[in-house]
């Protein structure tokens, strides 16, 4: 049984990690594309229009990869998590269906119109199609987050005699107090990823002395979007999310912050250290006293319950993974703010395009927002353990009882092979698009 849960979780973790590489870029990039198109409509400077069309090509490749890698998850709900799907299908089936019916079709239809239809529609309608692509991609995030928010903090439900969950209040699922902070935090984080991608392509062109005008535009836009979104990820959205966890999932909050023992007064914030699960303490820690209490409750002396206050079976089952994911996310977020603030300073002083060290740093930073986004999701998912639906349905109760761990392992290996192929294809397609660069409009 333990093996079955482990392999089911491993397979889902692998497929969803690979999948989330793509939507996190498309959601943020669609906003930047709309900005470029809007700038073009106002200024009639062609390079903004070229930039919008160039990034829509990168968007299209990412969107397509997101669709391909999303398909296995649709199957996995049924094959690996049959009990979970059967019991909660009446609720999560609705939001997931809405995601497919409204967001996916909106996004894909208008994506085709944006790519092919500029001449046919004229500029204002072309802008509108770009805006609808943006709306579709953010709506997609909204419905997925609504599903996840219900699993983190179930509301508006009723349990039937046969154990199945049904909605008794449709609007409650979208008014879930977990949803808005999680959605805003997630969307801002995806804008961070996109800003770094846009800025790094700009830095690449400047360093290669190729498409320099576009390079400067991309770098400037990426840095401005990057500093705003990096700050918004931390405050207020990140802060709001952490307070939600402290309020609704106190064992997870204690685990992610590394609080093993409850302090008499205010709780310290652990900046660095390694969880020692044998002695129940943080080794080699650097901590600041009382700060966690202040950040969470705006009071230096408010007590925060540590892990010693909860039953073992209610604590997350992999505390080190949760703790490290959270600290990696926060650490990277802090680095992003510092790097983007420094870049903005040199942009303001008109020196950014000439400081090679900074350009190289921006270019090579590209994987890190992806890592920060993924570890952020690990925090949400590891923190919810040992439950699938927090407080109601344990993970061990949601799996398919008839699927063997050997079968899951075999298909996992298959996924690894196929995803390597898809990953390679993705790199070739995006690499070709970046190599070709934006095409200036010819009249």
């Amino acid at each position: 049984m333990e093996d079955m849960i482990f392999y089911d979780r491993l397979q889902f973790a692998f497929t969803i990690t690979f999948h989330y590489i793509f939507p996190q870029l498309t959601m943020g990039l669609s906003l930047i594309i709309v900005y470029f198109k809007w700038k073009y409509l106002r200024s009639k400077i062609e390079k903004y229009n070229d930039a919008a069309k160039f990034f829509m090509k990168i968007f299209a490749v990412n969107f397509t990869m997101g669709v391909v890698t999303g398909i296995p998850m649709e199957f996995q709900f049924g094959t690996n998590w049959a009990n979970f799907s059967e019991l909660t299908g009446g609720i999560i089936g609705q939001t997931l269906a809405m995601e497919g019916m409204f967001s996916f079709f909106l996004e894909s239809s208008f994506l085709v119109l944006f790519i092919f239809g500029e001449k046919l529609m004229g500029q204002k309608l072309h802008f509108l199609t770009g805006f609808l692509v943006f709306l579709g991609s953010w709506a997609s995030g909204w419905f997925i987050l609504a599903t996840n928010a219900w699993m983190q903090h179930p509301v508006g439900y009723e349990i039937l005699d046969n154990g199945k969950y049904i909605l008794n209040n449709f609007s409650a699922i979208f008014a879930n107090p977990w949803l808005i902070p999680a959605f805003l935090h997630n969307q801002m984080a995806s804008v961070v990823t996109s800003s770094f991608v846009v800025a790094s392509i700009g830095a690449f062109y400047i360093l290669r002395e190729k498409n320099i005008e576009y390079g400067k535009l991309f770098l400037k836009t990426g840095v401005v979007f990057g500093i705003i979104s990096s700050l918004l990820v931390a405050f207020p959205t990140g802060d709001w999310n952490a307070k939600n966890v402290a309020k609704h999932q106190p064992p997870s909050f204690a685990a992610m912050e590394g609080i093993f023992k409850t302090e008499d007064a205010g709780a310290e914030i652990v900046l660095i250290g390694q969880p020692n699960m044998v002695e129940k303490k943080i080794d080699n820690k650097i901590a600041v006293p009382n700060v966690l209490s202040f950040l969470t409750y705006q009071n230096w002396n408010t007590q925060i319950p540590g892990m010693d206050q909860f039953k073992k079976e209610d604590l997350p089952d992999n505390i080190p993974a949760l703790y490290y994911s959270y600290h990696i996310m926060v650490g990277l977020g802090t680095i992003f703010i510092a790097l983007m603030a420094l870049s903005l300073f040199f942009l303001w002083r008109k020196k950014l395009y000439h400081i090679k060290f900074l350009l190289w740093t921006i270019m090579f930073m590209v994987p890190f927002p992806y890592i920060a986004n993924l570890t952020g999701w690990y925090v949400a998912e590891l923190g919810r353990q040992p439950y699938l639906v927090y407080g109601l349905l344990r993970t061990s109760e949601g799996i398919s009882p008839t699927v063997s761990s050997g079968n899951t392992l075999f298909t996992l290996l298959g996924f690894v092979g196929l995803y390597m192929l898809l990953g390679l294809l993705f790199l070739v397609l995006v690499g070709k698009t970046i190599h070709q660069g934006p095409k200036p409009q010819t009249h």
Binding site: V67, V68, I71, F75, K119, T411, G414
Partner: protein, 100 residues
């Protein structure tokens, strides 16, 4: 769970079909990127639309083992879906780029 793998392989076949058609019939070629993207959507669209006739991934695995005949039909339909999508996408592109 093998259904999931079949679904993914089927998409890869669609990509191959689209690129084959693009290269074989140059007037429909959308370039490697365009052909690949069209292949993905063409393959998914056709399998999702008509796969329920009995050759979608779930039907291929219904007996508990892989039904080779149904699997071949699935891959063939996927190949055709990818190819048709390239032709369709090219026609849309030509239509939309006609100056009015």
């Amino acid at each position: 769970m093998t259904e999931t793998l079949i679904a993914l392989i089927s998409i890869v076949i669609g990509i191959i079909g689209a690129n084959f058609t693009g290269k074989r019939f140059a007037k429909f070629d959308l370039g490697f990127t365009g052909n690949t993207l069209a292949g993905v959507f063409g393959s998914i669209f056709l399998i999702k639309s008509i796969g329920r006739l009995g050759f979608d991934p779930v039907s291929v695995m219904r007996s508990g083992n892989v039904d080779i005949l149904l699997l071949m039909i699935n891959f063939m339909v996927s190949f055709i879906g990818g190819s048709a999508a390239v032709v369709f996408a090219k026609k849309i592109r030509i239509f939309m780029n006609k100056r009015r």
